[in-house]
Amino acid sequence: MSEKNVVAAIHDALRDEMAADERVVVLGEDVGVRGGVFRITQGLLEEFGEERVIDAPLAESSIVGVAIGMALHGLVPVAEIEFADFIHPAFDQIVSEAARMRYRSNGDFGLPMVVRCPWGGGVHGALYHSQSVEAFYGHVPGLKVLVPATPYDAAGMLRSAIHDPDPVLFLEHKKTYRLIKGEVPDEPFTVPIGVADVKREGDDLTVVAYGLMLHQCLEAAERLQEEQGLSAEVVDVRTIQPLDRETILASVRKTGKAMVVYEDNRSYGAGAEISATIAEEAMFDLDAPVARLGGPDVPAMGFAASLEHAFIPDTDRIFDRMLELARF
C-alpha cells in the first residue's frame, strides 16, 4: 500500500497497464512531451516512446475517431480529452460511432477503448473548464460511464476500463486530483465497473453522490453525526452507466430516506435518473420524498469565486438539506 493522490493513482495504473500490454496506447492533446496538463501521462513518452504516446493534433473528434480505428485494428487506445468541456466536438464519434459499433454490426465489431477526461468545477474553471458531461453520455446505451472519486477507485476502475471489451468514458473530477489522497495497493488490482460502493454506513438517511460531491457529502455526514447525532449512509455511485440500482435501493430501503447530490445542472442530470429509480422502485420504503440537490439550471459556473460558490452545492448546503430530510 502507498498513499497517493488521484493523479498519481491514475498515472501509475496507466503506466502499469502500458507496461503489461503493448497494445495499450495513449493519445491526446499535450499527453506526450508535456505529460498532460494535469500530469497524468508524465513520463510515459520517455518510457514507452512516441509511437505509443501520441501528442495528437488539437482536434477532439479525431482523437476519439482515430482511437476507434486503433481499437478496430488490434490496439487498446486510451484517449485523453484535455477537459470535459472540450469533448463536445467528439460527441458524434462517441455517440454515433463508438457506442453503436457493436450494436450496429450485430456483434461483429467491438471497441476496447477508453476516453479519459477531467470534469467538474471548483477550480476557477469558469464556463469552459468546469463542466459536467456525465448525463449526456449516461443517456447512451453502448457506453460505460465511470466517475471514480478516490485514488483507490480511480486506479482500480481505470484498469477495469482498459480491460473492458467496450468503449468506456472515464471521467476524473479535476478538483479531486490533488485534493483527495488515499491508500492504493502497489500490486495490480481492479475495481469492477457498474458496482456502487457504500463509502459510509448509516441508518437515518441515504445520500447518493459521485465525484467531488461524494467527498462533500462525507464531510457533511460526519458533521451531522457530530452535531446532531444522526447517521447518514453515503453511497458512491462510481459508475453512471450501467448504474448499480441494487446497491442504491438496498441502502434506501434500509434508511427509508434518500437524497441525491450532484454538481451538474439539476434538470435531466444523472441525479434525476437515480431519483426516478428510487421513486419507482422504493416508494413504499420511503418516509420522505426523495431530496435532490444539484447545480442550478444556469449555463455554467462563473470565474468569480462568488459565482462559482453559488453554483456548486457546498458542504453547508448539503448539511442543511440532509438535516432537513433526516428530520422530515
Binding site: 497494445r23 496506447v25 509511437e51 505509443r52 495528437a56 493534433p57 482536434a59 473528434s61 479525431s62 476519439v64 475517431g65 482515430v66 482511437a67 476507434i68 480505428g69 486503433m70 481499437a71 478496430l72 485494428h73 488490434g74 490496439l75 487498446v76 487506445p77 466536438p89 458524434d92 464519434q93 454515433s96 460511432e97 453503436r100 459499433m101 457493436r102 450494436y103 450496429r104 454490426s105 450485430n106 456483434g107 461483429d108 465489431f109 467491438g110 471497441l111 476496447p112 446505451p141 453502448g142 460505460k144 471489451p165 467496450d166
Partner: protein, 343 residues
C-alpha cells in the same frame, strides 16, 4: 476529359484479359443489382435503395488495387461495387436490402448499404457523413505501429470533404505518413447541393497538398485509369511513403436514394448527357477493341449475371427476419464475441 483507356494498355498496368473480364463482371453485377433493387422498391419489397449506377468504374477501378485478406476497406453507402470487389455477394447485398437476420453488415439493424463485415475487413460505418475517415486513419496508425503491410482505403463523396472529420483525418494521416488511401467519388452533388456550393476549389484533390501528401484527379468513368492511380497510391502506402488523396470525377445516374427526386435539382438533359460517359459503355468499348468481348457476349453475360442475381434475391427474400428477441443483444460484449483487439 482524356480517356486513359485509349492511352495505356491493360498489360502495362499488370492486368490480364481475364482480370479485365472479372472487373467488367463486377461492374455489371453492381449495375444490375441497382436495377433489381429499384424494381423491388417499386414492388414494395425494398423500402430504401441507395443506387450505385454511374460509379461502377471508379469503385471497381480503385477497389481492384487492394488485396482481399490483406487490406482494409472503409466504404460509404454508395459503394455497392466496392463491397462486391471486397468479397460480398449479391445475396449479401439483398439480405441487407430486405433487412434479414443474416445480413452480414448488421443483421438487419442498419439501413441498406451501410456496409460492414469483419470477415472481409470491411469496416462498419454509420449514416453521419465522413465519420469513417478518422477510423481509417486510426486503423492505418495501428497497421504502421504493428509493422504490418496492409493498406487502408477509405471511400466517400465530395460532400464529405466539407466535414470537420474529413479535415481532421487527412491532417492526422499526413502527420504520421499513414498507409491509407482516401478516395473521393465526386459526382458533383451532395444530394442536391452542387459542388460549387460545397467548395471554392475546382478539385478536391487540390487539397492533398495542404495535408502534406499528393492529390490526384482521375476520370472516374475510366475504370483502368482509376485502377492505375489507385495502384500507385497503394504502392506508395505499402512502401511507407504515406497517404494519397484520389478524386475520381464521376456522376450518379439515379437520384441520391429511392426517397430522393433529383428532378428538383438536375435537368434531365444534364443526366442524359452524363450517361454518354457511362463507365460500363466505355469499358465495353475497350474490351471490344482488345478483342476480349463482342456484342453477343455482352448480352449473354448480362443475362447470365441477371439470372444469378435473381436467384440470390430469391434466397435473400426467403431468409428469416431478425428475431425481435434479439433487440437488446450486442449493446455490450457477450461471451463468445470476437475481441476486436485480438484480431
Amino acid at each position: 476529359m482524356a480517356t486513359r483507356l485509349s492511352e495505356t494498355s491493360h498489360e502495362a498496368l499488370g492486368l490480364s484479359g481475364e482480370d479485365l473480364l472479372s472487373m467488367y463482371r463486377t461492374m455489371v453485377t453492381a449495375r444490375l443489382c441497382d436495377e433489381a433493387a429499384f424494381r423491388l422498391n417499386r414492388q414494395g419489397k425494398a423500402p430504401f435503395v441507395v443506387p450505385v449506377s454511374g460509379h461502377e468504374g471508379c469503385q471497381v477501378g480503385t477497389a481492384w488495387a487492394l488485396e482481399r485478406g490483406r487490406d482494409v476497406w472503409l466504404p460509404y453507402y454508395r459503394d455497392v461495387a466496392v463491397v462486391l470487389a471486397a468479397g460480398m455477394t449479391p445475396k449479401d447485398i439483398f439480405l441487407g436490402l430486405f433487412a434479414k437476420a443474416d445480413d452480414p453488415s448488421s443483421g438487419g439493424r442498419q439501413m441498406p448499404s451501410h456496409w460492414g463485415s469483419r470477415r472481409l475487413s470491411i469496416i462498419s460505418h454509420s449514416s453521419p457523413i465522413g465519420t469513417q475517415l478518422p477510423h481509417a486513419a486510426g486503423i492505418a496508425y495501428a497497421v504502421k505501429l504493428r509493422r504490418e503491410d496492409s493498406v487502408v482505403a477509405c471511400w466517400f463523396g465530395e460532400g464529405a470533404t466539407s466535414e470537420g472529420d474529413w479535415h481532421e483525418a487527412l491532417n492526422f494521416a499526413g502527420i504520421y505518413k499513414l498507409p491509407v488511401v482516401f478516395v473521393c467519388e465526386n459526382n458533383l452533388y451532395a444530394i442536391s447541393v452542387p459542388q460549387e456550393k460545397q467548395m471554392a476549389v475546382k478539385n478536391v484533390a487540390d487539397r492533398g497538398g495542404a495535408y502534406g501528401f499528393p492529390g490526384a484527379v482521375v476520370d472516374g468513368n475510366d475504370v483502368l485509369a482509376c485502377y492505375d492511380v489507385m495502384k500507385e497510391a497503394v504502392a506508395r502506402a505499402r512502401a511507407g511513403e504515406g497517404p494519397t488523396l484520389i478524386e475520381a470525377k464521376t456522376y450518379r445516374f439515379y437520384p441520391h436514394t429511392s426517397d430522393d427526386d433529383d428532378r428538383t435539382y438536375r435537368t434531365r438533359e444534364e443526366v442524359e448527357e452524363a450517361k454518354h460517359g457511362d463507365p460500363l459503355i466505355r469499358f465495353v468499348g475497350y474490351l471490344k477493341e482488345q478483342g476480349l468481348i463482342d456484342d453477343a457476349r455482352v448480352e449473354a453475360l448480362a443475362a447470365e449475371i441477371k439470372e444469378d442475381i435473381d436467384r440470390q434475391i430469391d434466397e435473400a427474400w426467403n431468409a428469416p427476419d431478425p428475431d425481435p428477441a434479439t433487440l437488446a443483444r450486442h449493446v455490450f460484449a457477450e461471451p463468445g464475441d470476437p475481441e476486436a483487439s485480438e484480431e
